[in-house]
């Protein structure tokens, strides 16, 4: 259908931290949820209304977030589609809670577990059901990898000794991280174990190499491969489920979210390096003429190229903190989320209008 391919955007408002008491009339809150699709931001002079595919208010349960956000994506993954779930928001906006669950507890059994463990459960539930239905004719192979992108470099979280991996493309398999460890999974519990192990690596790395977790993107990928035997014909289908924890949005100030700022040259010799960005922007608005731009996308967009438009199911969960102190960050998160709805793969079918019609 027409809106089928667009990225779905969900906004979740976390409750303010415990101990904060608000006087009636929502003093101290910078937004209010109007309906399950709209948010009003108390901006001045005029309040702003934002509309999204789904807005989860402070009371929304983990289960209900999962069913409205992820269920559908996991299902289409079983049908051979690639799916991607992004979490976006400033540090402290509840990203980890939404995706993983309460920190420092066994999230796999906890009643407040997040989208990721629930997705694992649901995925393996669907696999088991398929297997029962099809009998011995159908088998599944699940593998996962877990990588981190920091400073435009790729690290393997399942192999802490490795560093500096590269993105490559394969004509049959699409984009992949060359040399990333792939672990075979046989159950949801196993998947969760691999995830938490990798997550821990991420934290370890953050102290030993002085990087902060909130400055890196983490991508957990499950490959689901099904093999169906029908007489002599073997039918193999494979699809990916990407779970992406984006770097804290406040860290991206100096990249895309801030529009109008000039890039300073500073005093160092290698100074005018953003001139290339300016020129690229000029070429970008060119009028559909054939052109080549020398500068590559970021590693993250390249890896998820397929998820940003094309034939993949993608959703973004934008997490916001309602406190009025967070007004600036919340506004920028909501703006980002609104822009995300417009993301579509720009490549189009070249139809040369010349040539004879008659």
């Amino acid at each position: 259908s027409v809106e089928g391919d667009a990225i779905k955007v969900y906004v979740r408002v976390r409750p303010p931290s415990e101990g904060t008491v608000f006087i009636d009339g929502d003093q101290g809150l910078c937004l209010s949820v109007l309906s399950s699709h709209t948010v009003r931001l108390h901006s001045k002079p005029e309040p702003k209304i934002f509309t999204f595919d789904y807005v989860a208010n402070m009371e929304t349960t983990q289960e209900s977030v999962f069913s409205s956000v992820a269920k559908n994506i996991v299902e289409s993954c079983m049908n051979g589609y690639n799916g991607t779930i992004f979490a976006y928001g400033q540090t402290g906006s509840g990203k980890t809670f939404t995706m993983m669950g309460p920190s420092d507890s066994d999230n796999f059994t906890h009643s407040l577990r997040g989208v990721i463990p629930r997705s694992f459960e649901y995925l393996f539930f669907l696999i088991e059901r398929e297997k029962e239905k099809a009998g011995s004719g159908k088998s599944f192979l699940c593998k996962c990898s877990f990588i981190e992108i920091y400073n435009e470099q790729i690290f393997d979280l399942l192999d802490s000794a490795s560093s500096g991996l590269f993105l490559r493309e394969h004509i049959k398999k699409g984009v992949f991280v060359d040399g990333a460890v792939e672990q075979v999974l046989s159950s949801a519990a196993e998947a969760y174990q691999v995830l938490t192990m990798g997550w821990r690596n991420r934290r370890v790395a953050s102290t030993s190499m002085n990087r902060e977790s909130s400055r890196s993107h983490a991508v957990f990928t499950i490959t689901v491969e099904s093999m169906e035997k029908n007489n002599e014909i073997v039918n193999i289908r494979s699809s990916l489920l990407n779970l992406v924890d984006l770097a804290g949005s406040e860290r991206q100030k100096d990249t895309h979210t801030e529009g109008l700022r000039l890039k300073e040259a500073g005093n160092i010799n290698r100074s005018l390096s953003c001139l290339g960005q300016v020129i690229t922007a000029l070429v970008d608005v060119g009028n559909g003429k054939q052109r080549h731009i020398c500068y590559r996308d970021s590693k993250l967009t390249f890896l998820l190229r397929d998820s940003l438009g094309g034939n993949a199911k993608t959703c973004i969960i934008a997490n916001v903190h309602p406190g009025s102190r967070c007004f600036g960050e919340t506004l920028s998160t909501l703006n980002f989320a609104q822009r995300a709805k417009l993301i579509k793969n720009k490549a189009v079918v070249n139809e040369d209008t010349q040539g004879n019609v008659t």
Binding site: K172, L260, V278, V285, G286, K289, T358
Partner: protein, 594 residues
């Protein structure tokens, strides 16, 4: 006098220390105290300011004012660096006020320009680009006025707190002054881009690049990529001479990159790989240049059915002869890159390919061959194993080069062979490609293959029409080409279906036109199939009618679609009117007694 001299030495010392803290030490500050050195520098500057006002008595007023301005400037930059914009603005404003009367004198002009640069940055951080623009444009104007009226290398701001014997050479002064002005232009390029004054932004990018070359402030690879990208801007504006100049300069400067030994000499494999990739990227910009030049020439030369118009050809050739000389000189002067030695190499590079529209096959072929060489070079790096998307894009360009060259070819058989070459490069890559990951490219290939077969079929029909009678070989050829075209159009249309294999009720905007064109072409193709079997013929007509009807019905249901397919729709309506009668007649012939 002695005491003052001693005080002066202390001031200079503190000033120097502040600058070192700010520029060097601050980079090592811990994350928890990011501005530690900046704050120390600020304290020192304030001390100097106090010492200066203490020494005020009896000093020369102008000299004092200028020194104070230097301190205000440093304090202004310091405050903006530490995110205290309002305080920063105050200091910078005070600096320009103090300098206002002397801003055109050699000891002030550089400082004044730099203060304005910083005010420009400051206002942009407040998202007030227009205000930033006024500061930067006035800095630009001041530079020009100074160069016109004086032009001697002016004092660098740092020299105001230096002992006589440390002062800079004229050469160094000039270098720093020019650099400050280059920054003005670089900021202006950004300002114009933000204000969507695209042409002006491009012009300022170009001038910035030019000045980087002149004052040796560049890294070859980075510079070359910027120039190559700028060439693509000129392409979109159809400025082929400027585009070629940028590309030639990019290639020349890039070749320096390999010659300069790197700092540590033990270049990693990765660096080498990067360098090779950059070279291939520049090659791809050249491919686009050749392609655009050829396509633009085709536009000029084609008649109303898209064929080469010989009258127009003669006309354009005569016109070109007239214009050739004057044009080249006038346009070029303004944009030329580089000092004389670089300039010579760039000119030599330019001579390898024309920047004029090719007007006949011979000229077109020369440009095609240059483009084809760059295709080989680019493919050498962007191999399918590892670079699927890039590799296919290059192949698509190669195919497009053949397509536009075929336009200039008058012999239909040879033209057909050129299209066959396109098929031969596109078909195998399409067969290997997994549409699950490369849906869009896959669609592009399906459509292009379909179109190419369609074009070949048309050519064979045209060749056949010249014969007395269609021989069976030609008929077979036409039919098989038409079938293949139908096959690929159908594959394209199938790619639009949802997982349950249902064709979308309403087409998305980006596939609307191609989908409608595919339907329309299939309708025509069924009409072109040749058969002596009347029953078969009737079936083909029926199929044709169904596809034409699709267009008509769809546009009736979604009137917005009409804009995208006006010509096709008109013809489809006509056919929907005609075909049933023709089919009726054919049926009557088949069964004359009913």
């Amino acid at each position: 006098k002695m005491a003052a001299g001693g005080g002066w030495a202390v001031m200079c010392e503190k000033f120097r220390a502040a600058r070192t803290l700010s520029a060097v030490e601050s980079r090592k500050d811990p994350e928890t105290e990011p501005y530690r050195s900046k704050y120390s520098a600020r304290a020192l500057l304030q001390e100097v300011k106090q010492l200066l006002s203490a020494a005020e008595e009896g000093g020369e007023a102008r000299l004092l004012a200028v020194r104070r301005a230097v301190l205000e400037y440093e304090l202004g930059v310091n405050h903006t660096d530490t995110e205290e914009l309002s305080a920063g603005e105050e200091h910078l404003q005070r600096c320009t006020q103090l300098l206002e009367p002397h801003r055109l004198s050699p000891d002030c002009v550089s400082l004044y320009i730099q203060a304005q640069n910083n005010l420009g940055i400051l206002w942009s951080e407040r998202d007030e680009i227009k205000t930033a623009q006024t500061y930067l444009e006035s800095a630009e104007a001041l530079y020009n006025q100074y160069m016109k009226e004086d032009g001697n290398p002016p004092l660098d701001p740092s020299e105001h707190f230096m002992a006589e014997e440390e002062k800079l050479t004229d050469q160094e002064r000039s270098k720093r002054f020019e650099k400050a002005y280059t920054h003005t232009l670089y900021y202006l390029a950004q300002v114009y881009q933000h204000l969507e004054m695209i042409e002006k932004a491009a012009q300022y990018c170009h001038t910035t690049l030019k000045r980087q070359l002149e004052y040796c402030g560049y890294y070859p690879v980075e510079w070359a990529l910027n120039a190559a990208t700028l060439s693509q801007y000129y392409l979109s504006k159809q400025c082929f001479m400027e585009s070629r100049h940028c590309l030639a300069a990019a290639s020349v400067i890039f070749s320096q990159a390999g010659q300069v030994p790197s700092a540590e000499d033990n270049e990693t494999e990765q660096d080498q790989q990067d360098l090779r990739q950059r070279k291939a990227e520049i090659a791809r910009c050249w491919i686009k240049y050749c392609l655009n030049l050829l396509q633009s020439a085709r536009k000029l030369l084609e008649d109303n059915i898209g064929e080469l118009d010989p009258d127009r050809q003669l006309e354009l050739k005569a016109q070109r002869r007239k214009e050739e000389d004057e044009k080249e000189k006038g346009r070029k002067k303004a944009v030329l890159f580089g000092t004389s030695d670089i300039c010579d190499s760039v000119l030599a590079m330019e001579e390898k390919v024309s920047s004029m529209h090719p007007l006949d096959f011979q000229e077109a072929r020369e440009i095609f061959l240059v483009g084809q060489n760059y295709v080989q070079e680019a493919k050498g790096f962007f191999q399918v194993d590892g670079y699927v998307t890039d590799h296919i894009e290059i192949i698509q360009d190669h195919s497009a080069l053949f397509k536009v060259l075929a336009f200039f070819e008058e012999d239909y058989e040879r033209r057909c062979k050129m299209h066959k070459r396109r098929i031969d490069m596109l078909e195998p890559i399409y067969a290997d490609l997994n549409p699950q990951y490369y849906l869009l490219i896959s669609r592009q290939l399906q459509f292009e293959l379909a179109d190419t077969y369609y074009e070949m079929m048309d050519l064979k029909v045209a060749i056949g029409n010249r014969l007395e009678e269609l021989d069976s070989h030609t008929i077979k050829k036409i039919n098989s080409l038409a079938q293949l075209a139908i096959k690929y159009y159908e594959l394209f249309l199938d790619s639009l279906r949802n997982p349950d294999k249902v064709f979308p009720e309403e087409l998305e905007e980006d596939v609307l036109r191609p989908a409608m064109v595919a339907k329309f072409h299939i309708a025509r193709l069924y009409g072109k199939l040749i058969t002596s079997d009347s029953k078969k013929q009737l079936e083909n007509m029926q199929a044709s009618l169904e596809y034409y009807t699709f267009l008509v019905d769809y546009c009736e249901k979604y009137p917005d679609a009409v804009r995208a397919v006006e010509t096709e729709l008109e013809l489809s309506k006509e056919m929907v009117g005609l075909l049933p009668t023709r089919m009726e007649r054919l049926r009557a012939k088949l069964c004359p007694f009913i």
